[in-house]
Symmetry: C2
Subunit: 294 residues, 2 copies
């Protein structure tokens, strides 16, 4: 395949070559050919398809809602996770995964009782108005341009691309088509359990188990697709089980302090496994010609 045309914002190198070689091997006639119906590709979202620093995009929506909840009921500020917000406790927010039960409680309570349509309106309003704190652009612009090109390549080669986010499924669905060309039925992620009452669907305060991270990712992917991924792509330790189940695994490494952020924290195990298992590691600094299309 002609790499210049196909992934124009990827630099020539081992990562680009390995990706193009794999895609060609499973889509062209030959021993490794895979029929389109089984070309399942799964992509983590935060840190893989778009920027997850200085905080997960969805946290922006959540903090706005928690602020309104505290204003409506100041007693809430005494309990977590609202307390962390009320006290501007940056250390609490700097390591969200260590407060997972409180975080999930806050996520569930934030939109309990919303119809699915009302939640979607809240999400769309957020994307229409909020901007990234350091890039200064709307969040719909914080997707990585080279990754969008990879999705385009996979779409052109008849892969079924699924977004498999540790974050909110219903948070990404309203914008997944616009951002990535991925329709909403192919967005997998952590989600509130919805309940049908009197003709409408409502968010409950309960979050589906397992959450779509770590060992929950291959479980979610199976539940939604009935297959293991042919190609999977992630950037963090929570993506390791998903990457373990794929035929071809790609790990995005955040090593570009000038154009994005440089951090291996939270990806130590993923990087070690990538070395051991021969996964394709993508250096944002070396492999991406541009990071954003701002």
């Amino acid at each position: 395949m002609n790499g210049n045309e196909l992934l124009p914002n990827w630099n020539e190198g081992a990562a680009k070559a390995a990706i193009l070689e794999f895609v060609e091997s499973v889509t062209e006639p030959g021993a490794s050919y895979v029929p389109p119906v089984d070309r399942i590709a799964t992509f983590d979202n935060d840190g893989t398809l778009w920027c997850e620093k200085p905080q997960y995009v969805q946290v922006g929506l959540l903090l706005g809602r928690w602020k309104a909840m505290i204003e409506a009921d100041p007693a809430k500020a005494k309990e977590q996770p609202y307390k962390a917000l009320a006290e501007n406790d940056l250390s609490w927010f700097s390591n969200l995964y260590s407060h997972l039960p409180d975080l999930l409680k806050g996520i569930g309570e934030a939109y309990e009782g919303y119809t699915v349509e009302a939640f979607e309106r809240a999400v769309l309003e957020f994307f229409a108005t909020a901007t990234h704190p350091t890039l200064g652009t709307p969040y719909t612009k914080v997707g990585y341009q080279p990754m969008r090109e990879l999705l385009d390549l996979l779409h052109a080669r008849d892969f079924l691309v699924f977004i498999c986010s540790g974050g909110g499924r219903d948070f990404m669905r309203p914008v997944s088509e616009q951002l990535y060309g991925v329709p909403r039925e192919r967005v997998i992620g952590t989600a509130a359990i919805v309940e049908f009452r009197n003709g409408d669907l409502y968010h409950t305060k309960d979050i589906e188990e397992p959450v779509d991270d770590g060992t929950g990712k291959p479980a979610h992917i199976w539940m939604r697709t009935g297959r293991k991924p042919l190609l999977a792509c992630g950037n963090a330790d929570g993506d390791v089980p998903m990457l373990e189940t794929a035929r071809f695994s790609i790990l995005i490494r955040h090593d570009d302090a000038s154009r994005e952020f440089a951090y291996d924290t939270g990806a130590e195990k993923a990087l070690a496994e990538a070395r051991e298992r021969g996964w394709t590691v993508v250096s944002m600094q070396d492999d991406f010609k541009v990071v954003f299309d701002l």
Copy 2:
């Protein structure tokens, strides 16, 4: 649209006319046009796309497995649901929904610890060997020919067709493409929770809540598609909430004792709602030229 070409095994009548008119209205330019991305069609399976009498097809698989479990551990015959099988208690099996907790326990225990691949092999072996008790044909032949034609029409009109079964999702996925032209990622249904361990996915004994029936159906459809159905089709009271959420709703009525089975039991509420809400009721006797393609 030319009805003769499109649904050749449907008799001319109100049901066929209403279906063709609706499909044309949302796929041809005009005030009711719906873009392909939102053309979600959801079909119940048992009794809607294939025969559910004298027992649900999946029960055949289950009884074979329960028999083997009792042989391996005769003490099992003292507890339900195994007791009902050991004692050949036909009344127990004639109304499965009244024993739902015991039934779900038996379904979960039957394949606990199986990898998803081992379960698929068991399903494929069942379909390769078992035959329908009264029709005498493989179960892959008990789909309704007119309904397959309806699915073909919807596929040709760029609908995304989902099978939304009260029965087992992982039971239908291995054969959904062959039976209905629906790929496995578009099969929604009740399912065991799967768990990732050491690189493999295993069935646990726990069944996902809610089960994919009654109010669980629109919840499952939302979880899997992020939309309410544009068109939905069912045959029983457990399909009512799904049918309530659709723009166009079709109810299959089992009124053909000579070619299939005649029963309104379990569909009383659905038939009443269909009258009240103007749903399209399909009489298998009057609207189907043939029932099966045996």
